[in-house]
Amino acid sequence: MEDGNASARPRRATGRLCSICNQRKAALKRPKTLEQICRECFYSVFEDEIHSVIVDNNLFRPGERVAVAASGGKDSTVLAYVMSQLNCRHNYGLDLFLLSVDEGITGYRDDSLETVKRNEIEYGLPLKVVSYKDLYGWTMDEIVKTIGLKNNCTFCGVFRRQALDRGAALMEADKIVTGHNADDIAETVLLNILRGDIARLSRCTFITTGEDGPIPRCKPFKYSYEKEIVMYAYFKKLDYFSTECIYSPNAYRGFAREFIKDLERIRPRAILDIIKSGENFRIATSTKMPEQGTCVRCGYISSQKLCKACLLLEGLNRGLPKLGIGRTRGSNGVKKHVEHRNSNTEVSDSNLESKQCGTLNF
């Protein structure tokens, strides 16, 4: 088999040595640096980079309960695997578990959840699944049947964000880690420039977000290239699910993604440079941030009277699916009467049970 490979790809037959260990034969070209390295060195640089990102940014404290947002896709599968590895190897002392959201998309989520369930057994991490049906009374299939394929991603995005928080609160997690990788963040920086969204532009490169909220989220893969994540999953033969969501033919984001890939082809470093630019943008600190309050109906953090999920849900239940889509100004009509949260720090430290999860048929 070796011989066959060698003759088919003469490039590999040169037998170059790994540029890191100088002992084994180089097996791959590292996407980030184009160094030719062997598999073992790739594993270690990939993991060590994530480790140093975690340490340098003080992402976790010992004893924290951390939810790994697991969709069954490549990013979250590698994240779950690497987090459990690093947790053991470097004694983070974290109590890890998998948290999945079941949107109720037949032919997509049911299959990917099977993957997550296999990972639960393989990595020995407990799994919690929260479903849209339980939380909101609607599955995505039902929503799409009602409103069609337009704006359905708005519902899904808003609901998922809250579902993760609710699931994490229910499991008494201190933090959520998500599998957003460097490509995702570079793409978000770019999209925010294209849209003129300066507030999001300033936030989107933060490694930890929502620190003033109940459960902060962080992105240990902030500097990890998508290609390397795929490569890692490929060589480690990790079990992941790789189908696109059947409801998401999103051309705009795809277009920006294509551009990022083209940039990476010319200069791999460009992805890191975009993130660096995003971090270094001189954004005036006086930029007004929305005031945080809580939703009067479900108690979730919201800058409006009703949180976005409750607003969308009300639209669904009353047969007005346009409610809450598009600009919020005026639609909620209560912007000025935001109930101020007395003390954010108090909430994040206090018992998470105080989040009124029960109000939504929980």
Binding site: V189, L190, N192, I193, L194, R195, G196, D197, I198, A199, R200, L201, F255, F259, D262, L263, I266, R267, R269, A270, L272, D273, I274, K276, S277, G278, E279, N280, F281, R282, I283, A284, T287, K288, P290, S303, G326, R327, T328, R329
Partner: protein, 470 residues
């Protein structure tokens, strides 16, 4: 935000409020669309009226242009944008000697035309005024011949001058001096020597993008040199919204996010001869259209096909423009929301205090506290260095002695990656042929000291003589 142009200030406000949901770009597009729809409706039936002057476009014999405007209103519309940029940023004052950088493309052609029109108007008022107290600013034109790096280098500079002169000479009175230089002049005034030096310099940069960028920086230095040598005190560039939008994305992709706001303002006074961008608010399509309508001659510039980041980005931007014509404006506006630097506006100088208030330039509020801070600039691209970069400069400065080391330390991370050669030998060579204006930019006691040391190095007996000095 205070130093952004007054013309777009109002839009900034509404954007900030809106930014919670989708960006305001879509709304902008809708506004634009609705204008053109309104104009059609106002005309009623077949009669299409220009929304500005009310004349029927057909009567004037011209095609309808942007938003149904007739050609003369379109000209006035663009000139208005230009004039607004000039006046709100105090770009040109009566005593100025202004140098217009003319590349032959539509943007700089329009800039030249508009500057000429402005000059004519102020000449008229000078003639009409009794006191004739207010002088008329003078204008010169510079063209830089870059045929050496184009696909088919033509060695005849006289031919280029022949092409440029018929464009510039009709723009008088008032008379405009024409300066023509070749890009290799930045390396050496001797033509052949300059050519070999420039080739060597560009060849030592392996990265295609880095090569293009270095050439651009060299061009800027040459423009500065010509302006200084001939006593100009303002340099007008034809950078328009579209070029700035490309710059925003490419600077982001090159990791220059910190220094980006310095490049997208109306005024850039970090150079010895301040640079102004009066076409900041016009997009390429408009400028091309105006050149076409008014019959302004432009030069056909052959662009070398390249696989650089810059060309990838310009095709990306043109793709975005096809999808939404106001996208370029949104991109530039995003960058304008970033905090500009102190040198991005003119500050009042003594001269203006003697003018009657009516004639004084309108300066913006100089309340920005940062204006007092002196920035350290990358000697290659001229971008101000960020905090961590400055930190590493001082770290390296402590250890290094040679001029090359100090120079390398002062380069921004982006230039270090894409322009500076990696091997010490080629780096030394690169530094030695780099034009003086670039190497001279690195100032500071350490460099002066080390330069002195190099001069007297052969006479020094003790090696670490200057250790306590640094």
């Amino acid at each position: 935000m205070a130093s952004c142009g007054g013309g777009v200030g109002a839009c900034h406000q509404s954007h900030c409020q809106r930014s919670e949901e989708d960006g305001g770009a879509e709304e902008e597009a809708r506004e634009m669309a609705s204008v053109s729809v309104d104009s059609c409706a106002a005309g009623g039936g077949d009669l299409v009226r220009c929304p500005k002057c009310g004349e029927e476009a057909a009567a004037k014999g011209g095609p309808r242009v942007l938003n149904g405007m007739c050609p003369s209103c379109f000209h006035a519309h663009l000139f208005g944008k230009f004039k607004l940029a000039v006046t709100t940023n105090a770009m040109i004052s009566p005593t100025d000697k202004v140098l217009v950088a003319f590349s032959g493309g539509p943007a700089s052609r329009v800039a030249l035309q508009f500057i000429h029109e402005m000059q004519c108007k102020s000449l008229e008022s000078w003639d009409a005024s009794k006191s004739q107290a207010l002088p008329v600013f003078s204008v010169g034109v510079v063209f830089i011949d870059e045929s050496i790096i184009s696909v088919n280098p033509s060695n005849d500079i006289n031919k280029t001058i022949e092409e440029i002169r018929p464009i510039v000479s009709p723009l008088s009175p008032p008379h405009k001096d024409l300066h023509v230089a070749t890009i290799e002049n930045i390396c050496s005034m001797n033509c052949n020597d300059g050519k070999t030096k420039l080739k060597k310099l560009l060849d030592s940069v392996p990265d295609a993008t880095g090569k293009e960028d270095l050439l651009e920086y060299l061009r800027m230095h040459l423009l500065q040199k010509i302006a200084l040598d001939n006593g100009y005190n303002k340099l007008v560039l034809g950078s328009c919204t579209s070029t700035l939008a490309c710059h925003v994305i490419s600077a982001t992709a090159k990791g220059q996010g910190y220094s980006l706001p310095a490049d997208v303002q109306y005024v850039d006074a970090r150079w010895e001869v301040p640079v102004v961008l009066p076409l900041h608010d016009c997009v390429t399509e408009e400028l091309k259209m105006l050149c076409h309508l008014d019959g302004m001659e432009t030069l056909q510039l052959l662009k070398k096909p390249s696989n650089s980041i810059n060309s990838l980005i310009s095709s990306f931007i043109s793709h975005l423009r096809d999808e939404n014509p106001s996208r370029e404006r949104t991109i530039v506006r995003t960058a304008e929301k970033l905090k500009p630097f102190g040198f991005n506006k003119f500050v009042e100088d003594k001269y203006h205090e003697f003018l009657p208030s009516r004639l004084r330039c309108k300066f913006q509020n100089t309340s920005n506290s940062e204006s007092a801070l002196a920035e350290v600039f990358c000697p290659l691209c001229g971008s101000p260095l960020s905090e961590p970069e400055l930190q590493s400069v001082s770290d390296i400065q402590e250890k290094s002695h040679t001029a090359v080391e100090v120079f390398t330390a002062h380069c921004c991370e982006s230039c270090s990656f894409q322009i500076l050669p990696k091997e010490p030998v080629s780096l030394q060579q690169f530094y030695s042929i780099l034009p003086q204006p670039m190497t001279r930019r690195v100032t500071g006691s350490t460099l002066d000291h080390s330069m002195l040391r190099e001069l007297i190095g052969d006479c020094l007996l003790v090696d670490d003589y200057d250790n306590d000095g640094t």
